[in-house]
């Protein structure tokens, strides 16, 4: 019997799936991110050379972790023999590693690894790091994306992203940001920060804030993968499940949301036959799980709202009363002008555009393009075309996404086709 040959794409898949796990374990052993990353990259280089002839090892992740650890220890020994002054601290470090291995009895599989990844995630999303840095670190260390890939996804030059990562890793090292799952007191708000970073990744993928393409699929897929990971790592937090459900339900509509030409299609006009039923079923099951737990939070409520939309076979069949109730619940636990704006949209479907317009005119959202876009739509529905056109112009001036701008421009042209202000 011969093993199937190992291709480059097999190794790439293992890299993508196991990089985060391996880095997390190595960070625990060596206490340093750069050492861990170098060692894991060394191990994958070795894998690229060996696996095509030896075949995949029975546990690729275990092989990578063991090889990476040996590489790092070799490197320490080499450094130590070059520099006698350094040697003592290296010996101490190696002793420490031995002790950790004995104490934890080779915990490279199972729960301990889960804990390693969770610890690293809390480090990446530490509130002392800027959100952009949190997102970049999470994608790099846990997602295994290269610096070039992250830079491309966020439309910044690779050197800028490299600098952002170096700076963040430098702060973790120099300010000694700990690798630790926060204590019970801090856990809820620290988990919130992790979820926020993942949702930021998802949103950046879903509605690229600048550029031509409306959806950058890779980031959405990566955010969902990280969302699954967090939901499994903090099973007691229903918000983690809520976030996963929310992302799945939004992702389910991807094929219907963009025309073949890249134009934006609003929820009400989407071809619901294009929705991904598998993702909807999974998202709805998670929403039911959240309801059973009965500890609502913003992500769970947003997921529930999207679950209601997913239930309607036609836009006209949408249960707006239930959606309005969910917005009321959201306003009760976490009121904000943006929630009020979205609640007004639901209200307009039940009580009419006039009432909704009166509600949103008091909101302090002058800088937010959706505020103007929603106002424009309500004005259009009330036949106030001139005001609607002004509001569309205000919305267009406040978004850089090409697909959204094109959509708003079409809507604006439909209210005042021949007039410019």
């Amino acid at each position: 019997m011969t093993e199937p040959p190992v291709s480059t794409s097999d190794i790439e898949r293992v890299f993508r799936e196991e990089y985060g796990r391996a880095v997390a374990v190595l960070v625990r052993h060596f206490g340093d991110i750069d050492t861990a990353e170098e060692a894991v990259q060394d191990a994958f280089m070795t894998a690229v050379q060996r696996w095509p002839s030896t075949g995949l090892p029975p546990s690729p992740a275990g092989w990578i972790i063991t090889t990476a650890r040996n590489r790092a220890i070799d490197r320490f020994r080499r450094d130590a023999s070059r520099d006698e002054r350094h040697a003592q601290s290296v010996r101490l470090q190696l002793d420490q590693i031995q002790r950790t291995r004995q104490q934890t009895n080779e915990p490279d599989e199972g729960d301990a690894v889960q804990d390693d990844r969770l610890r690293l995630m809390f480090t990446c999303c530490h509130p002392a790091l800027a959100p952009a840095a949190q997102v970049a670190l999470t994608l790099r260390l846990l997602g295994g994306l290269t610096t070039a890939e992250i830079a491309r996804a966020f439309l910044v030059p690779e050197s800028t992203m490299a600098q952002r990562l170096v700076r963040a890793k430098g702060k973790i090292r120099d300010a000694r940001i700990p690798y630790r799952v926060p204590g019970a007191n801090d856990l809820p708000h620290r988990t919130r920060a992790v979820l926020a970073a993942i949702y930021l990744i998802f949103n950046e993928g879903y509605t690229a804030s600048t550029g031509e393409r409306l959806v950058r699929d890779d980031l959405c897929a990566e955010a969902i993968r990280l969302g699954r990971l967090v939901a499994s790592l903090v099973p007691d937090d229903p918000e983690a499940i809520g976030l996963l459900a929310l992302m799945l339900l939004i992702e389910a509509r991807r094929a219907a949301r963009v025309t073949p030409e890249g134009g934006l299609v609003l929820l009400a006009s989407q071809d619901r036959g294009l929705w991904n039923r598998g993702l909807i079923d999974e998202g709805q099951a998670l929403v039911r799980e959240c309801l059973r737990r009965n500890r609502p939070g913003p992500y769970q409520i947003q997921a529930a709202i999207n679950a209601v939309h997913s239930d309607a076979e036609r836009a006209e069949a949408t249960d707006w009363r239930q959606i309005l109730q969910l917005y009321d619940q959201w306003m009760a636990i976490a009121p904000s002008p943006i929630v009020a704006l979205n609640r007004a949209v639901a209200l307009s479907e039940i009580a009419g555009a006039e009432q909704a317009l009166a509600l949103i005119d008091g909101l302090a959202l002058e800088h937010y393009y959706l505020f103007h876009a929603i106002r424009a739509d309500l004005l259009k529905r009330l036949g106030r075309s001139r005001e609607a056109a002004v509001a569309y112009d205000a919305a267009i001036a406040r978004t850089n996404n090409a697909a959204e701008r094109a959509f708003l421009q079409r809507a604006r042209d439909s209210v005042r086709p021949h007039e410019r202000f």
């Binding site: 530490h126 002392a128 120099d174 300010a175 000694r176 940001i177 700990p178």
Partner: protein
């Protein structure tokens, strides 16, 4: 153990009225006692206004002396405390206590390790 500098970001302008200032100073003394009792205190000090500062610097081989702070800003360091803490989370916890006591922003910054 690592050392962290906790510095107070003070806006320019007059200090708060005496009653308020007294209450702040009482809280600052209490916090200092707490830092000492916890064994983390290394050093603290409050500074006079930036208008009392003098700058000396080397220019063309000479050392020249000028009046006033090196950089004029809307904020200056009004005082600082050096503490020892095992990691940033512990240092930030003291930083939060200091911010609540002083009611001004506190910058928490690690010292370089000594070699």
């Amino acid at each position: 153990m690592k050392q962290y500098l906790l510095s107070v970001y003070q806006p320019e302008g007059d200090p708060p009225p005496p009653d308020e200032l007294n209450a702040i100073m009482q809280r600052v003394h209490a916090l200092q006692a707490e830092l000492k009792a916890a064994g983390v205190w290394v050093f603290s000090g409050g500074l006079h206004a930036p208008s009392t500062a003098t700058v000396v610097r080397v220019k063309d081989g000479d050392v020249i002396t000028t009046d006033g702070p090196y950089v004029e800003g809307k904020e200056h360091i009004g005082g600082f405390t050096i503490i020892e803490a095992p990691d940033l989370d512990a240092a930030l916890e003291w930083g939060r206590k200091a911010a609540r006591a002083i009611t001004l922003p506190i910058e928490v910054r690690p010292f370089r390790d000594q070699h």
